[in-house]
């Protein structure tokens, strides 16, 4: 089996890996903001619930969370699982987990804003939501971008955890080819794929950071 064939077989897995990546990113970034708000709520009860959520999500392995999301409905409620649920479970698992990390990053950014800005905005007649979306959030995004980049890069590599639900993403297929052909080449291809993927991510994030640095 030559290199090109291995690459062709891995390509279907690559598409699935990229799929997990984009779905997770698209859903967990906004969801993380919601959690960040909950975490910063003035209501003690609400904030402690979200605090607990974050601590569970960060405190248990993602692989275990994926298993719970996928097999949980059957073992808890006796619901029969269908084939289509596999991918949905993976996305739910990844989003719940990553949103917790993003929430803390958002919080660090939002809480770093000086109180004076809020006071000035109130004096100028901005409403609460206007203050947040027009004044605070744009600055927050600038500040937290490097931290977000870190998490996004981790996400690219974490997609391989989908193997625990037998989802045929690239690394799962790489292992299968390696087993059938008794060769290590698929792993080399996998390593190169992850590296290039992350190069692109890092490059894109750097460009965004540069675009955002308009006051400097």
């Amino acid at each position: 089996m030559d290199f090109i064939t291995i690459l062709q077989q891995l390509s279907s897995g690559m598409i699935k890996t990229v799929g997990i990546f984009f779905w997770t990113l698209a859903l967990s970034l906004p969801f993380g903001l919601v959690i960040a708000f909950g975490r910063m709520s003035k209501n003690k009860l609400v904030s402690s619930i979200f605090k607990f959520y974050i601590s569970v999500m960060r405190g248990t392995p993602l692989m275990l969370q994926l298993l719970v999301v996928y097999f949980g409905p059957y073992y808890l409620f006796g619901i029969k699982l269908s084939q289509g649920y596999r991918f949905i479970a993976i996305i739910i698992g990844f989003v719940l987990n990553y949103a917790a990390y993003y929430a803390e990053i958002y919080r660090s950014g939002i809480e770093s804003m000086p109180v004076g800005q809020y006071e000035a905005a109130t004096q100028l007649g901005y409403s609460k939501s206007q203050t947040f979306f027009k004044i605070i959030l744009p600055q927050v995004i600038k500040r937290i971008l490097p931290a977000i980049t870190n998490e996004v890069i981790t996400l690219v590599k974490d997609t391989s955890l989908a193997f625990s639900l037998a989802y045929m993403e690239m690394f799962t297929i790489a292992k299968q080819i390696a087993a059938a052909q008794t060769t290590m080449i698929p792993f080399v291809v996998a390593a190169v794929f992850y590296y290039i993927f992350n190069l692109i991510v890092a490059f894109t994030m750097e460009r965004i950071e540069k675009k955002m640095s308009y006051y400097r």
């Binding site: 089996m1 037998a166 087993a179 008794t182």
Partner: protein, 295 residues
């Protein structure tokens, strides 16, 4: 209030996992008692079968698909071929059964560690993948055995290991949740031998185990003979199978406990396929003719 609810949910999550894990390890730990009980249960099962047969035939009448769960890293029984398609002796046999019944075969590669969760939750109909019956008699509803198997030890040619006794103090590798592992951890079988090993290392797949053997960090691998033959023939020189085997056992198709109606259909079809020579033909194609026991 909400906090306690969250706590409860968390507890439930943990429970669910414990249950899952419990099923997974059951086949490794229960072996000793099952061996003796096995004969009794088969008697009980055959009694219940006769009474249930008339009712049980119905639920499978409108079946259109047949979802087979298998470990895609387990050649020659189930693996990915050069074209990226899943194939292997067991999968082709499953296809032949589906052709007879007019079912559509869905090949679902599973993570071997979660096979029980996959089967119990209904995401697969059966486990058909060089699946050892011995030691798991009570955990699944089994088809007739179709293939003989034995657990063997593979070592590097120049290792100087030629008998099981030579393995004392050596590092031995085995697949997680595999039949070889349960043989080595069963008091009645080879537990005494396993205790003489320097260490018993568990791997998720045999490919990495063979790489470690080649690299020298492992001295031996405990493995199914069919898989051993495939690995050695595709890797070439340098490995030998010890002539002493750990045990002999049989492969069957594992269905969810109590799913007799589906099992009976597959059993009947397997018998027909054995009679018309399809089984022998497939066995020759995958080089396991010596091992077939379905007559």
């Amino acid at each position: 209030m909400k906090k306690t609810l969250a706590m409860l949910l968390c507890g439930a999550m943990t429970m669910a996992l414990l249950v899952g894990c419990g099923n997974g390890s059951a086949d490794a730990t229960q072996t000793a008692t099952e061996e003796t009980e096995a004969t009794e249960t088969t008697e009980v099962e055959s009694e219940t079968e006769t009474t249930e047969e008339t009712e049980a035939a119905n639920p499978e009448a409108d079946r259109t698909t047949f979802v087979v769960g298998f470990d895609a890293e387990y050649p020659p029984y189930g693996y990915m071929d050069d074209n990226g398609e899943y194939t292997g002796f067991d999968l082709e046999l499953a296809q032949a059964v589906c052709d007879m019944e007019g079912w559509e075969l869905t090949k679902t590669p599973i993570d071997w560690d979660s096979k029980d969760m996959e089967l119990n939750s209904g995401s697969i109909d059966c486990i058909w993948n060089g699946f050892t019956i011995n030691g798991r008699e009570d955990d699944y509803t089994w088809s007739d055995p179709y293939c003989d198997n034995s657990q063997v030890i593979v070592v590097a040619e120049d290792s100087g290991i030629s008998t099981l006794a030579d393995l004392a103090g050596k590092n031995v590798g085995v697949q997680t949740a595999s039949a070889a592992l349960s043989v080595l951890s069963d008091e009645e079988q080879q537990k005494a031998l396993a205790d003489t090993f320097g260490s018993l290392q568990q791997f998720s797949d045999y490919n990495s185990a063979f790489s470690e053997l080649l690299a020298g960090s492992l001295d031996a691998i405990a493995i199914d003979i069919g898989v051993a033959n495939y690995q050695i023939s595709s890797r070439g020189e340098g490995y030998v199978i010890l002539s002493e085997t750990l045990n002999s056992e049989q492969y069957g198709v594992g269905f969810k406990l109590g799913n007799e109606s589906l099992r009976d259909i597959v059993n009947a079809d397997l018998k027909k396929l054995a009679e018309d020579g399809t089984v022998a033909e497939l066995a020759e194609k995958y080089g396991i003719s010596d091992l077939i026991c379905l007559k």
